[in-house]
């Protein structure tokens, strides 16, 4: 029956929706699709380093199961047979999970994360695990213990962080779908600098069970893809209540796919926050953002200027809250039940072995945040640092609430600059932290946000991201607005932005 003439190159350039449709109609087999992507990984990943582990046999077995299902005449789900790159922060039964850290090198989890289970149940083909900043701490994927990932637009530049591997896999056509996690911007920021789409759903929308915890009140898994519709299709697969996660929202998932299929901003009120521009923003980023606002106006949106004064304190609050929670969460890496153990020569105490193992297993950024968090939570400093940061969190939430009384969505640049060269900010943590300036307020408040491409910065020819922010549980608005903006841009450019990326 299958008489495909598609070349590897044309298969890997299909959208996820297009791939699923061709598999469902029998034009392509899931095995052919998996093999095309595995061949692409083989050809380019040595240069990009998007993957930490490629599960070739597992992917082909999943693909064969999809083909068998189709041959038996069983109904296939909307993403059945579509390949996906999974951030190495989600546990995968029997498949290495390292969180980009030496401390979990070689660990084979005995269970699947809820998200992993849902992907498998939807017949999504998991190609492997993607590179990331260690424990998702970073804005550049340079903090991976296994070496940095390159940005497919320019391999000497960062692909964003911490989910740089996932976004680089999309931008280099190694997978049409990917999963990220967003604690301070780690889905949206890599999407912006690689010219792809990434969504941080409402906090609690996607289960955190089996997702290695960094900062529990901020961490949120979410979908990444090359188009808004593909992102929505993946969102519906992974979102929904999970009784194994006490922070999981027990409410229906908003109709995100329907919204992505009916993009429109006509009559919508779109907010522009004055705190989301100023010092530190690249001129080309501001230029593309201003053009996006003009585009929204032309598409029928009403633009409303907003003042959210507490946003100026968001970065400071984040860099106290996230390290505090990290210092507590990472206490589980004690060298007793799993992970690296160092110095156990029969003469040392358990406490000494723990300290030596953590010293050997954690990288600089992780250690820096553990120390900072331990300090912020310590007696005498708690009120001044952690306590005050939580008050700022309240003020930021109130600023959002006031804003959403006036507007349906807020837009901003996703990142203040385009992708910077690998190594440029490595020794300057504060400079690195600025990359998440526009994304962090949303994590603190728990609402939903998306990044999608809005053009190339004229000065360096690198992608710029447009961020759309919606109230909690109104994730569908991101897709409605995002789909309208994407369609208008693709029409203006004559093709998707990613087609302008150099070939690898």
């Amino acid at each position: 029956m299958k008489d495909s003439t598609d070349s590897t190159d044309s298969i890997i350039r299909l959208t996820a929706a297009g791939t699923a449709a061709r598999i469902a109609s029998g034009e392509l087999s899931a095995v052919e699709v998996a093999e095309a992507h595995l061949a692409r990984i083989e050809a380019v990943d040595e240069k990009v380093h998007a993957f930490l582990h490629v599960d070739r046999e597992g992917a082909l077995a999943q693909a064969r199961a999809v083909d068998a299902k189709r041959e038996r005449g069983e109904k296939l789900g909307p993403l059945a047979g579509v390949p996906l790159a999974l951030k190495d922060i989600f546990t995968t039964k029997g498949v290495p999970t390292t969180v980009g850290s030496k401390i979990l090198e070689g660990w084979l989890p005995p269970y699947d994360a809820t998200l992993t289970q849902r992907l498998k149940a939807a017949d999504v083909v998991i190609l492997g695990k993607t590179n990331m900043d260690e424990f998702a701490m970073g804005s550049s994927t340079e903090n991976s213990a296994y070496g940095p990932t390159g940005n497919p637009w320019d391999l000497t530049r960062i692909p964003g962080g911490s989910g740089g591997g996932s976004s680089a896999a999309l931008a280099s056509y190694q997978a049409p779908l990917a999963i990220g996690t967003d604690t301070g911007g780690s889905i949206r920021q890599p999407a912006a600098v690689t010219g792809t789409v990434g969504v941080k759903p409402t906090y609690g929308a996607v289960s955190r069970y089996g997702m290695v915890a960094f900062s529990s009140s901020l961490d949120q898994g979410g979908p990444c893809a090359r188009t808004v519709l593909d992102t929505a299709l993946l969102h519906e697969v992974i979102a929904g209540h999970d009784p194994l996660d006490s922070t999981s929202i027990d409410a229906p998932v908003p109709p995100v796919v329907e919204a992505a299929r009916n993009g429109s901003v006509t009559g919508m009120r779109v907010g522009v926050v004055k705190q989301f521009r100023g010092e530190g923003y690249q001129a080309g980023v501001i230029q593309r953002f201003d053009e996006s606002v003009e585009l929204l106006k032309a598409l029928g949106a009403e633009i409303v200027e907003l003042d959210c004064p507490s946003f100026d304190l968001a970065l400071s609050a984040y860099y106290l809250i996230a390290p505090s929670e990290c210092s507590s969460n990472l206490a589980r890496f004690d060298a007793m039940r799993y992970g690296l153990r160092v110095g156990d020569d029969g003469t040392k105490s358990a406490e000494d072995v723990t300290a030596l193992s953590r010293e050997a297993g954690f990288g600089d950024e992780v250690k820096r945040r553990i120390i900072l968090g331990t300090y912020a939570l310590s007696s005498g400093y708690y009120d001044a640092y952690y306590g005050s940061a939580q008050k700022v969190r309240t003020l930021i939430t109130q600023d959002f609430e006031k804003a959403f009384e006036q507007v349906d969505v807020i837009v901003s640049p996703t990142t203040p600059t385009t992708a910077f060269p690998i190594g440029e900010r490595a020794d300057d943590p504060m400079a690195m932290y600025l990359a998440d300036l526009c994304t962090i307020p949303t994590n603190l408040a728990g609402n939903a946000a998306m990044s999608l491409p809005c053009g190339l910065a004229p000065e360096d020819g690198l992608p710029v991201g447009l961020q759309i922010i919606a109230p909690a549980m109104k994730d569908d608005r991101l897709y409605k607005v995002g789909a309208a903006v994407e369609a208008a841009f693709v029409e203006k450019w004559g093709h998707p932005l990613l087609e302008e990326a150099p070939s690898l």
Binding site: L108, L315, S327, R341, K348, R368, Y385, T394
Partner: protein, 98 residues
């Protein structure tokens, strides 16, 4: 607010069970001082009558019926252990000899 000294970093590292090297103590003391200087602005709101938010969702304790359910086998639970003995996690000594 006070800056963070090398000795303080060493103390915090002990509390956090991190056996930092000497050069790391110097390196982190400088960097943490910079970071704390930059983030200390949050205390500007401390005097205001603002309730703290620890979590974006109102959290309630979730209970389930106390029923036996499928779980990991002992072999699975021990599969990632650095050392094991007699189907148990084997750990270094916890109590001192004196």
């Amino acid at each position: 607010m006070p800056g963070i000294t090398r000795e303080e970093v060493a103390h915090l590292a002990r509390l956090a069970r991190l056996e930092l090297k000497d050069e790391e103590l110097d390196h982190f003391a400088g960097q943490l001082d910079d970071i704390l200087g930059a983030v200390a602005r949050v205390s500007e709101v401390a005097d205001q009558d603002v309730p703290p938010t620890s979590h974006p969702l109102p959290l309630t304790n979730v209970m389930r019926a106390d029923e036996v359910r499928p779980s990991l086998t002992p072999e699975q639970a021990l599969s990632g252990a650095p050392a094991q003995e007699q189907r148990r996690f084997k750990v270094p000594q916890i109590l001192g000899e004196d």
